[in-house]
Symmetry: C2
């Protein structure tokens, strides 16, 4: 049996487009000899559809799209869709489902049993889980296929010390006769999943002594990045096919021969860069933007974001804007301009002195007798925000924000200033990782793209004379470690201090994280790379008094 | 048996403060003759704690707080807390729980069986549900009390045609001998719940022929408003006690006599105003603000928000700022000033002409050859945002945004402009309701607070000469009806047209709702009044192509 692993970049809600993507890949798979084509989770509507699932017409349009695929697919095909049972009066009426279609009709329907409801996932909000009695294999060309959906395969009691669910649908499918394991997924990328996911899948194949085919969605949908990286294993848990990361792909795996294409993997830093490029491109294109505008400060964050934007959209579609103030150093202006030249993007300089002075004048009566401080600093950042948004509004560019995760965590950023924009490209990239990615940009280019001085000078917001980030923040390598323990591992101050960090630094950092929750609530959507990003996967109250001990 | 219904305004995460609130009320209840004191859901940590529940120390601090209440409470008391079972290796390890304490110790613990996971609720994200076997009454002074938590009481199969859960914990408690029904809740306010909730509770009491005591949290926590409105019913479903709406209260109900205090109810418009005043006061105070700043345009939205802020914080703590532009009419400036005078608040005028001109000058080279349009209009709104945020940053005022739900729905507002602020007071109030609330402000004051011309002139953003809202939008009475059908009832265009609305208006409105999702993602938290507010209870993808048919 030959299976075509169809790894496509679906657009949420674009039934017609997604149907055509599926069918064109099915035809290609057939031409390459496949007997069965397998698409990813909710391939018809795209993942995650979120609260569109609450609209009746959204669900019924999906059933119509399924009928169309069933009628037009020329080989057996597995499609992800939203199943609907209007007769139910208790529980939810829709299911996260997979359909086997073939011979012009829907052959069988399978419901997802385990509904992830943590981090970015809200599946209990929408779906009814499968009944255990319905978790049964389906025959395709005489072979019993154990078909499961994403989370269903992540609950192996031999793999995890702690589990969220009492059921193990994969074990159930094997007990009920599955000869081949198929899992269709929309499993979002995080850095640690690059190794964790293949290891977990291999363990399932090996333990059950069954070949396993895992087909994942690829592409960015808002904050979520789907890496593709579809995999097939033989019954010993050895990888026999692997699709590309961060790109559409079609891989044929021959289960009888145990063979298939195995695409190369990149290193972690390259993968992170590719993920961000994909996420930026998809957010822009799926929202209807062809071009982007970025404020270039001469610093490493905006340099990295501009480099990512150029890869995502092409240098002709990126505008870099330098907005120097009375506090900007000559090297910042020079670095920004040099970066733009290296990237081959359009570059404009729009000084903020005029608007900044005008605001100070307008506010002079109200501010009389006060000393300059954060209010005045923020006005500068907000002048830049107004200019960039004006360029966005006038010319239809997507404004990309340039703040990193470390800044966003401690609130070292200005709401409506440098936080203004439609997409926060690196808001889940800690500052220390920003440097790694920036150096990788130069390494991959084989030349200086991001100027060396951008990579080596002390980071500064340049909102007052002589300011550097470390006036207010601990060194970034310390800060990033503390933040990882607090944000990703959810540890509080005493636990972090117990790991050997300075108590006053830890308390300061955690206080800053806490009091800046309101800023993050209004942040642009940010591409998720780590196990815990700020955004929909981290839901914190703003008005609260928990102090961690 | 006399029960003290303890309706308090808890702060999320403030264990020490919440413990003192509970204990002081318990002592008062005892002094008034109560045998049993009942607090609301998660009273120890405050509701909703959201992802603070993922922190081990947050959970263990709650158990310590429970021990303290147990030791110090001088009568039997029911407390809401987070129970924790560290021995579990499958499923979640925490429960939304109620403890009966008395005699210096924890007498029994009860877990919530039904975990709401829809709209603003995410309880499946955090909690393990009760085992059915554990849903049993507990004896207090010889009477078997059927204790349930919030959602547990909302699933009566005789009340609803469709239900989310197969279990009915109330029926189970009655079958297992409950003589009195107690429900502790953190049931957020929405307009329709003022009648729905008493009706549903009365039906439960009547059906099971048991007295029922319902104790609800009061106060605002971020976007959620808890109305209190705690209730007691006799076994025939008649109300025998009712606590205040939107205020803390302590009501003693005598179950043997069937008597208790029954506080007056307000009309719906008064209730909505009180809800918004409470939400504004609590957000400000729980976040540490004493004062607010508001941009006054002379229009009805900012007039209403200023009136609410004055009630919430006092006139001495509210600053109104008029920021006229070259397009502002004299009547707008006059109306703003008159409003401030009537409210007795500080008032400043800060014209935006200087910064606006300076931006146009700075952008002139980039904008060369383009016609003035939305970009220039937005610059004006953003100049106002910068000025208001500068005043907020300088003087520590909370900036209140003034946009209503109709505007936010169709994107008739400027991101980082009039949308800038810490709290969106009326972002869940449709424009037609804004007028009703504004007239109620004058009616309650018995004099003109909001100028009559503010209430009667055609609404305008005044961002270009002669502009009025109805240049771009349908009449507000039509718009609000279409929006209610689409946003609250989740209907798509064909269904709304079938109700008799003009297809071109419906399609236009729904298109505007769709393309402005990105603005709402970055909106300030807004106080929730309706069954579906923009915010955490409505989770829509931004990059998507669903068009509704």
């Amino acid at each position: 049996m030959k299976i075509g692993m169809i790894q496509r970049n679906f657009v949420v809600g674009d039934y017609q487009g997604n149907v055509e993507k599926i069918l064109s890949s099915v035809e290609k798979a057939k031409a390459l000899g496949a007997d069965l084509a397998v698409t990813s989770e909710l391939s018809l509507c795209g993942y995650p559809p979120k609260d569109l699932l609450e609209r009746d017409r959204f669900v019924s349009a999906g059933k119509a799209a399924l009928e169309e695929v069933a009628q037009r697919a020329s080989i057996h095909t597995i499609v992800g869709f939203v199943d609907h049972d209007p007769t139910r009066t208790v529980g939810r009426r829709i299911y996260n489902a997979a359909a086997l279609v073939g011979g012009g009709k829907v052959v069988s329907i399978h419901h997802k049993a385990l509904l992830p409801t943590y981090d970015v996932f809200d599946e209990h909000r929408h779906f009814e889980p499968a009944l255990l009695a319905d978790v049964v294999p389906v025959a395709v060309m005489g072979r019993r296929m154990g078909l499961s959906i994403c989370e269903d395969i992540w609950n192996d009691p031999d793999f995890w010390k702690l589990r969220l669910y009492p059921l193990d649908p994969i074990a159930t499918l094997v007990e009920r006769g599955a000869e081949v394991l198929l899992n269709i997924s929309a499993s979002p990328f995080t850095m640690d999943k690059r190794t964790l996911r293949p290891r977990m899948l291999a363990a399932q194949a090996r333990k059950h002594r069954r070949p396993l085919v895992f087909v994942n969605q690829v592409g960015g949908n808002d904050d979520l990045l789907f890496d593709g990286h579809s995999l097939a294993f033989d019954a010993s848990g050895t990888i026999i096919a692997r699709a590309r990361e961060f790109e559409e792909d079609l891989v044929i795996v021959d289960l009888a021969q145990g063979t298939g294409a195995i695409r190369d993997l990149k290193d972690d830093t390259e993968a992170a860069l590719d993920a961000l490029v994909m996420g930026t491109r998809d957010y822009a294109h799926k929202c209807g933007f062809r071009s982007a505008v970025i404020g270039l400060s001469g610093g490493v964050d905006s340099a990295l974001v501009a480099s990512i934007a150029v890869r995502a959209l092409g240098p002709k579609n990126v505008l870099g804007v330098s907005m120097p103030s009375r506090f900007s150093s000559q090297h910042s202006k020079d670095d920004a301009e040099e970066l733009a030249r290296h990237l081959g993007i359009a570059f404009e300089t729009i000084p903020i002195e005029g608007p900044f002075s005008a605001f100070l004048d307008a506010l002079a009566p109200a501010f009389k007798g006060t000393a300059p401080g954060v209010a005045e600093e923020n006005i500068q950042a907000r002048c830049r925000g107004v200019i960039l948004m004006a360029l966005s509004n006038k010319f239809g560019h997507l404004l990309l924000t340039t703040g990193n995760k470390s800044e966003l965590a401690v609130g070292y950023c200005t709401l409506y200033g440098d936080m203004a924009g439609g997409l926060a490209v690196i808001s889940d990239v800690p500052k220390t990782m920003v440097y790694r990615l920036a150096r990788k940009v130069n390494e991959q280019a084989g030349r200086v793209v991001i100027p060396e001085s951008t990579l080596t000078k002390p980071p500064s917001a340049e909102l007052r004379p002589g300011q550097v980030d470390q006036d207010l923040l601990p060194p970034y390598d310390i800060l990033d470690q503390v933040l990882e323990l607090h944000v990703e591992e959810q540890l509080e101050a005493p636990d972090i201090v117990a790991r050997g960090f300075d108590p006053s630094i830890v308390n300061d950092v955690l206080r800053m994280v806490r009091v800046n929750e309101y800023k993050r609530r209004q942040a642009a959507p940010g591409l998720k790379l780590t196990s815990k990003a700020f955004g929909p996967g981290r839901r914190m109250p703003i008005a609260q008094r928990w102090r961690g001990n």
